[in-house]
């Protein structure tokens, strides 16, 4: 407002010095001042209209997608301008700023209101947190809350694999062929070795016929499977390639309101931990359709090891609002650290857990780690 006032006074001073008074020269000065008076409300109105139009367009597009889905048409991978725009944003810095904001301590009397508002917005269950709401000093602490005893009973069947997290099953199936491709969305897949790392411990894949139309990410040549078989022979011994085993995968998406601690899906030994410092694209249904290699590009922590049925790997993939992944078995691990340069092909930081070949024993249902904000 002060700026506009200055502008206006300069303008009228100039007008009077030129013509010896506003009215004499046709009242231009008074007309201009009226035009300026509309400048601010006009800009505000234009902004509101623009935001409204963008929101209406978003609603229309969502409606079209819903209609397609109801007609059983599976949505295909289709990059768009928004995805490219996200690519140039400093998402890691934005994520860290969000983390700093949510780590601010909230006055005790405000905490129930803030957490109830959060829970109402993101459909969290307020019956389950282990502590009274007043005990969580910040939104970040509330977000990574543990639950009351008995809230998550573990399926006792020894012949079953249980979910490591609360969430929505996005993809699942058996990995066939030599590349082990996981479908991100119809029309775009990524390979298991791109997700877990080129020297992952997977048993030697049978020589399979390449399928030309599959897009392999992160593999320079087909020999990467052989490098798999040669990597860290001591670790490899603990995983035997058996024809009686299939290789399966399951992708589970956690909503912001979900319980964000990660548990062990079975009794297994985590032999290796790999930390990929990566991007932090938002992870949601739209992003899986528009951002290429979303799970391979994003910051993630991979635990690899063995269970009684063979190979086991758990990849925890971060997102913009949930950029940190903590491991209770390795508390000193820090993710989403500031980095000067981020090279997409930067090798992951790897750690082999002691004793080599045995690693850390994790019981089925035990807490292994957590996602956190920022």
């Amino acid at each position: 407002t002060s700026f506009l006032n200055n502008l206006r006074s300069n303008h009228s001073a100039r007008a009077s010095s030129l013509g010896g008074g506003g009215t004499g020269s046709g009242g231009g000065g008074s007309g201009d001042s009226k035009g300026n008076a509309f400048l601010l409300p006009g800009a505000t109105m234009a902004t509101i209209l623009m935001l409204g139009a963008l929101h209406a367009r978003r609603l229309y597009e969502d409606k079209k997608i819903e209609e397609k889905r109801e007609r059983g048409i599976e949505l295909e991978f289709k990059p768009d301008v928004k995805a490219s725009f996200l690519g140039i944003l400093p998402l890691r810095s934005i994520s860290r700023a969000w983390g700093s904001l949510t780590s601010v301590e909230i006055p005790v009397w405000m905490r129930p209101y803030v957490y109830k508002a959060w829970s109402r917005a993101f459909h969290s269950n307020l019956e389950e947190p282990a502590l009274p709401l007043e005990e969580y000093a910040s939104l970040q602490e509330f977000f990574v809350r543990s639950l009351k005893e008995g809230c998550r009973p573990i399926d006792p069947d020894p012949r079953c694999l249980v979910s490591p997290v609360d969430g929505t099953v996005v993809r699942f199936g058996e990995l066939k062929g030599s590349r082990g491709m996981i479908e991100q969305v119809k029309g775009h897949s990524y390979s298991v070795s791109a997700l877990l790392g080129n020297n992952c411990l997977l048993p030697m894949a049978p020589e399979g016929k390449e399928s030309e139309d599959e897009e392999a990410i992160g593999e320079n040549n087909d020999k990467s499977w052989w490098t798999v078989s040669l990597a860290s022979p001591k670790l490899r011994e603990s995983i035997s390639a058996s024809p009686m085993k299939g290789l399966y995968y399951c992708v589970i998406y956690l909503k912001p309101g979900d319980y964000h601690r990660i548990h062990s899906p079975a009794d297994w030994n985590a032999l290796v931990r790999r930390h990929f410092a990566g991007r932090l694209f938002p992870v949601n249904e739209r992003a899986t359709r528009t951002i290429r290699n979303l799970y391979v590009e994003n910051e993630r922590v991979v635990l690899e090891g063995v269970w009684k049925e063979g190979f086991m790997a758990l990849a925890a993939v971060g997102a913009t609002n949930i950029g940190s992944i903590e491991l209770f078995i390795e508390p000193e691990l820090r993710t989403n650290k500031p980095k000067k340069k981020l090279f997409p092909t930067e090798p992951p930081e790897e750690r082999v857990y002691d004793p080599e070949g045995h690693g850390v024993k994790l019981e089925k249902g035990k807490q292994v780690g957590a996602f956190n904000m920022g």
């Binding site: 694999l161 979910s163 099953v169 699942f172 290789l247 998406y253 990660i262 079975a266 990849a315 925890a316």
Partner: protein, 46 residues
């Protein structure tokens, strides 16, 4: 955020398209809500 599980599990290595009761089978569907500790899949020992 997302968790991806990759794991080996029993399969009777039967010919493509047919399955044996001991195959590992998922007991969830696309879009199912799951919670920690709930079974994602099972197999039977023959």
């Amino acid at each position: 955020s997302t968790v991806v599980l990759v794991f080996q599990a029993p399969t009777a290595n039967t010919p493509e398209g047919s399955s044996s009761s001991s195959d590992f089978r998922f007991c969830v569907k696309h879009g199912d809500r799951v919670r920690v500790g709930e079974a994602l899949g099972r197999w039977k020992e023959e």
